[in-house]
Symmetry: C2
Subunit: 358 residues, 2 copies
């Protein structure tokens, strides 16, 4: 007897990047930060682990909201903590998108939006980007007009480019929400504000952020949404009561308290990113200027999948990503290698292996 | 502009039990375990906190699944880890229940099933229990026949009673799933098996368990679903990739490794439960025999809400719960006090305060 919902039965399921659990890999495939989190994080976890784990966490994450709000110069009721940015996106879908409604997102981009729409029984439309990763507004406008949510990762993945805010405002759906997925924003500007939420149309914008990337905390699962309190209040009704646990709340507070640590790691990653970009270009790759902690490398005539596999044989993991039906006309496959900016040493090992492979 | 889905707009939202963040309360309102978790849990968290928090956790929770499977004498692909039992229930709803389909559950019982159905846009029907908490099968059968999921907490909350398995099998929907929410099962039998999953009809049953209660780990948010691998595989497509974090996975593994610690705490709670039950009955309360870590106390003619408030003034929190439209005919409000079995000292303070209030 098949008991699944038809959309779940059809679903292939989102496949996250490979996560080898054994040591010995140079892991440049899931955009993790190669540097450890602030030492304050470990201290905060130790203190929390010695505390009362037998009781439920604060369902509202009050202490975290206070800190995030101070950082972004808002009131705490603009902040919704979540079990990773993926949960923020899931909550958005369940709060605002009825089955049959349409969501839209750039393409190529983060493919999870499509999976979440499928789970919700919603329609999804790809806003196909030009070859230089710019918007094709003419094609996008009719889709945006009927979209309930337009999701835009900024910086975008896999390209790493950052779109200016005045372009993003043109993507605001007249009867829906614009969700700016800022998972990688700190690598563009670790002091980036969210002032556009308080400007005209800001009550139709949600910003999502994560501690997985710039704060080196992919392991604790912590993200948060920022939006007008009316939107946050509705999203709160949908989230599980205790979606964030005692340890991750403590870790997240400590991480936000050590801005200097995060800024310093961002500076190191930015420096390595420049070096990696130049090294790849010197080897004949096309690499758009990245504002994230990864770069997108393509090479005319190259078999990118073979390069990925040859690197993997040498225990170096990068992400091979094919995007079928891409390009402004949807008539070609865009594929390439997305390479996380690791430590200088990791990047040296990667380049060494790459030279053997090419 | 109202952008919410109509069902979310209407939703009042589930209100969890009060969670005062300051000390000084005798907290008997959310069925937390008064004893700390195994010391091995703290050690495991410290080790994990010194490890690589900058990388993502194992998306499958392999180590935890191996341990839970061994404990329940199954293969690991029967196990799905989740961010608390609430997440297991959310995943079940999103995997199996299309908007417009019907779910059912006993009443009075855990009210979250209703909230989750509302969020999903599903219908819900209450299977009204008899006054002695037994099933009214005659009334239930026609509802069960059209239900996609029947949720049954066993032991039930707020009553604490345990229904025998042969009764539960009569609640299996012919074209749906029976979900046995065993959040409190260890307080009935800390060695309870899940053999009914491998019996006739077992491929339509899902068992959910949690580490929040018997393992004293409400703070880390960890639950798991147990079901036929085909069901688990579908649910895995719906969950967020990294729904459980590195620290909670480590803590959960360590907790399962120390069965003796959990069994010992269960024995203590069972002893205190007997004492609490007798003390309440001696004070004129009706208390059904509880197999959980709480008791349900009612007293003819008593104003239960006033007792709750008077206790709260004395910094003793119990849960006042009114269930309107209850009883086999749905024509009366069942209300009473749900009192968590705390330590002997907490229960003494509770009884002392109660004697002042009555």
């Amino acid at each position: 007897m098949n008991l699944f919902r038809p959309n779940i039965q059809r679903l292939e399921g989102y496949v996250p990047g490979e996560q080898p659990q054994e040591d010995g890999w140079v892991k440049l495939n899931t955009n993790e930060n190669p540097y450890p989190p602030s030492p304050r994080v470990r201290e905060a976890i130790l203190a929390a682990a010695s505390g009362r784990l037998n009781v439920y966490p604060d369902p509202l994450g009050t202490e975290f909201r206070r800190r995030a709000a101070r950082l972004l110069e808002l009131d705490p009721d603009w902040i919704l903590p979540a079990n990773g940015s993926d949960e923020s996106l899931t909550i958005l879908m369940r709060t605002f998108v009825d089955p049959g409604e349409t969501i839209a997102f750039p393409y190529p981009s983060y493919i999870l939006y499509e999976t979440l729409a499928d789970i919700q029984g919603a329609r999804h439309e790809r806003l196909r980007l030009n070859e230089d990763w710019s918007w094709n507004f003419e094609a996008a406008v009719p889709v945006i007009e009927r979209a309930k949510i337009v999701f835009v990762p900024n910086p975008n993945s896999p390209s790493g480019n950052l779109w200016p805010e005045n372009e993003l405002c043109r993507l605001l759906p007249p009867h829906g929400l614009l969700v700016l997925d800022q998972a990688y924003i700190d690598f563009a500007d670790p002091s980036a504000d969210v002032k556009l939420l308080q400007a005209d149309g800001g009550d139709q914008i949600v910003v999502t952020r994560t501690l997985s990337k710039s704060y080196s905390l992919a392991g604790i699962r912590f993200g948060f949404a920022v939006a007008h309190p009316d939107l946050i209040a509705g999203m709160r009704k949908v989230k599980d009561s205790y979606n964030c646990d005692t340890l991750s709340l403590a870790a997240a507070c400590a991480a936000l308290d050590d801005q200097e640590w995060m800024h310093e790691n961002v500076r190191r990653i930015q420096a390595t990113r420049s070096r990696l970009t130049e090294a790849l270009r010197a080897r004949g790759f096309t690499v758009p200027d990245s504002r994230a902690n990864f770069v997108w490398a393509t090479r005319p005539e190259a078999d990118h999948e073979r390069i990925y596999e040859e690197l993997k044989r040498r225990r170096i993991l990068v992400r091979y990503m094919p995007f079928p039906e891409a390009g402004p006309q949807g008539d070609r496959t865009v594929d390439g290698l997305r390479i996380t900016v690791g430590t200088d040493e990791q990047i040296d090992r990667f380049l060494q292996a790459l030279d053997q492979v090419l």
